[in-house]
């Protein structure tokens, strides 16, 4: 048997630094959070084991359902908006025109900019009296809005009538955050779509043109179907990141944050609030586990089902 030139133990040795850090700071915390979720754990440390009581409490807690509902609304609004707008812009950018790279760069600018700075600017834009948003509304002869302080649902505001509880829709405050997030994330989804578009052979379009196809037809028959894998990818990725929204809520809403009337309270904010404002570490850990399971499911779907079809690495 030929002895290996590259000794295996060296390979293992090279991995040790990474493994140590990952064990301590990526694997161990998962076990730890699971353990804490079974405790009543306050500022003084673990008080007593309560097994699944924290989870039961969560499932009976109105605040949890409010946070869950808000998060779902957030995701349901951000994902399609971001998806379609970025797809549209990517198609536009997929032309060999002069200075097209310049446009692509400017769309990506919000993606690299810190969420804190962006929240400051947008909070200013949303200012009820002095903000750009109401200024633009005024130009369009639409009455000014309270934006981040508005707890009324958007459907109710648009229809102008009082609607029953289920149909009110997410608050305008939450929707304001949606708009900002879509704006911030566009550039990222655009370049994903660009990659997807560039994988569509030109010959398809050329053949279609020869057959006399119009633009809408080409889109419906060629572009959209060929983009399906990319669309799924963007869908899952945007869903996963949207589920984790936190910073805009902490920075832009309230007092107290999560307001007005809790209509911008989202899952991750709830975890933060319970842990660091209420010192309910056990409860917050249980919430973290629930969030983990949600996202893990989504991630597994993405990695196992979608990604192999999109990237041929």
């Amino acid at each position: 048997m030929r002895e290996k030139v590259l000794k295996p133990y060296v390979g293992v040795l090279l991995l040790v630094p990474a493994i140590v850090i990952l064990l301590i700071f990526r694997f161990y915390p998962l076990l730890y959070v699971l353990r804490v979720s079974f405790y009543k754990w306050g500022m003084g440390g673990p008080e007593r084991v309560v097994w699944f009581k924290n989870y039961l409490t969560i499932f009976r807690d109105n605040f949890f359902y409010q946070a869950l509902g808000n998060t779902l609304w957030y995701v349901v609004l951000v994902v399609p908006l971001s998806l379609f707008i970025s797809m549209f812009l990517a198609i536009l950018l997929n032309n060999k025109l002069r200075a097209i790279g310049f446009f692509r760069t400017t769309y990506f600018l919000p993606v690299v900019t810190s969420i804190v700075a962006i929240s400051i600017v947008w909070k200013w834009i949303y200012h009820p009296e002095l903000g750009l948003a109401n200024y633009l509304l005024r130009l369009l002869h639409i009455p000014p809005q309270n934006w981040l302080a508005e707890w009324r649902g958007i459907f109710e505001i648009i229809s102008g009538r009082k609607l029953p509880v289920g149909l009110k829709g997410p608050s305008l405050a939450l929707f304001s955050l949606v708009i900002m997030s879509v704006w911030k994330g566009l550039g990222y989804n655009i370049i994903i779509y660009l990659a997807g578009l560039q994988n569509i052979p030109r010959s398809y379009y050329e053949a279609a043109l020869i057959d006399g196809a119009s633009s809408p037809t080409m889109f419906a028959r060629i572009t959209w179907p060929m983009l399906t894998p990319t669309t799924f990818y963007v869908l899952i990725m945007t869903t996963i990141t949207s589920f984790q929204v936190f910073a805009p809520v902490w920075l832009m809403t309230g007092p107290p944050p999560g307001g007005p009337l809790g209509t911008t309270n989202v899952l991750v904010y709830s975890i933060f609030d319970n842990a660091f404002n209420f010192s309910r570490y056990g409860y917050a850990s249980a919430l973290s586990m629930i969030l983990f399971l949600f996202i893990l499911t989504l991630t597994v779907i993405q990695k196992k089902v979608i990604e192999p079809r999109v990237f041929y690495e």
């Binding site: 161990y28 600018l109 919000p110």
Partner: protein, 272 residues
């Protein structure tokens, strides 16, 4: 493409561009206005008088210099960690075969699937038990490994033929020597990508330092800016000036390394 089409494309893209850039424009112009002009309605699009002093004032009211220093320390040390662990691990995965390599690889993959917010509570409690809260340690050490960087480097290392490595070993070169003298220079593009990406991530990081720090003197720049926002909530010109200062380094970096940055985002799938 017909001229009419091209024009249409340009117009639509320009509208989109204006929407993308408008908030930035708004931020910079507000930063240059006087407080009185900033609260004028209807708002002015170009400041009547460029008040550059707002920037100096912002840096005086809050210790942004200190915040920058903290961020740089954290960024440099965690980057060092990421590069060291990333190069070693990427190299190992690319060239070495050993029992359990697949499992190890899969578990690294698994780590990527855990969303960051799940780590906040246990991270806080664990780091508290280490006594690391409110120190640089809590902000640096957990971030000295970045799995995406490991994978990127592995990929690039794989483009080097194993035979080359084996030949070098036979010729008496040590593995480490091969790594540093031959392999690493060959993957320079990947190293640059990893560097830029991690520097930007460090600069923009917010949640983790928010939770792990309490003292003002150890806060990195985004957390400092966030508390500044709470304290000066109605001083829009000052806030805009501070935001501009905080945002400029990344924007400069972005304009220089556009391609690389967009590529790295595409591969790693990270959004802050």
């Amino acid at each position: 493409m017909s001229r009419r089409r091209a024009l249409l494309v340009y117009i639509l893209l320009s509208i989109g561009m204006i929407i993308s850039v408008l908030p930035f424009y708004w931020m910079i112009t507000t930063a240059l206005k006087t407080p009185q002009e900033a609260v004028q309605f209807p708002p002015t699009w170009i400041p009547h008088h460029f008040q550059w002093s707002n920037f100096a004032e912002a840096m005086r009211v809050a210790p942004f210099g200190r915040y920058f220093l903290n961020t740089i320390i954290i960024a440099v040390f965690s980057l060092a960690g990421v590069l060291i662990t990333g190069i070693l691990a990427g190299f190992s995965f690319a060239f070495y075969e050993f029992k359990g390599r697949e499992i190890l690889f899969l578990s690294f993959l698994a780590v990527m699937m855990v969303p960051m917010p799940v780590y906040i509570v246990p991270g806080y409690l664990i780091l508290a038990s280490f006594g690391w809260l409110d120190t640089y340690l809590a902000l640096i050490i957990p971030w000295t490994v970045n799995v995406f960087s490991i994978f990127l480097l592995r990929q690039h290392f794989k483009s080097i033929p194993t035979a080359l490595f084996e030949a070098a070993i036979i010729d008496g070169c040590s593995p480490f020597g091969f790594l540093m003298k031959i392999a690493v220079p060959l993957v320079k593009p990947a190293i640059i990508t990893v560097t830029i990406f991690n520097l930007i991530s460090s600069w923009n990081s917010f949640i983790w330092p928010l939770v792990m720090t309490n003292r003002d003197s150890i806060r990195p720049v985004q957390v400092g800016l966030a508390y500044f926002m709470q304290e000066e909530s109605t001083n829009y010109t000052l806030l805009s000036a501070a935001s501009t200062i905080v945002v400029i380094p990344v924007i400069i970096l972005f304009f220089i390394f556009q391609r690389r940055i967009m590529e790295s985002y595409m591969r790693t799938g990270i959004k802050e």
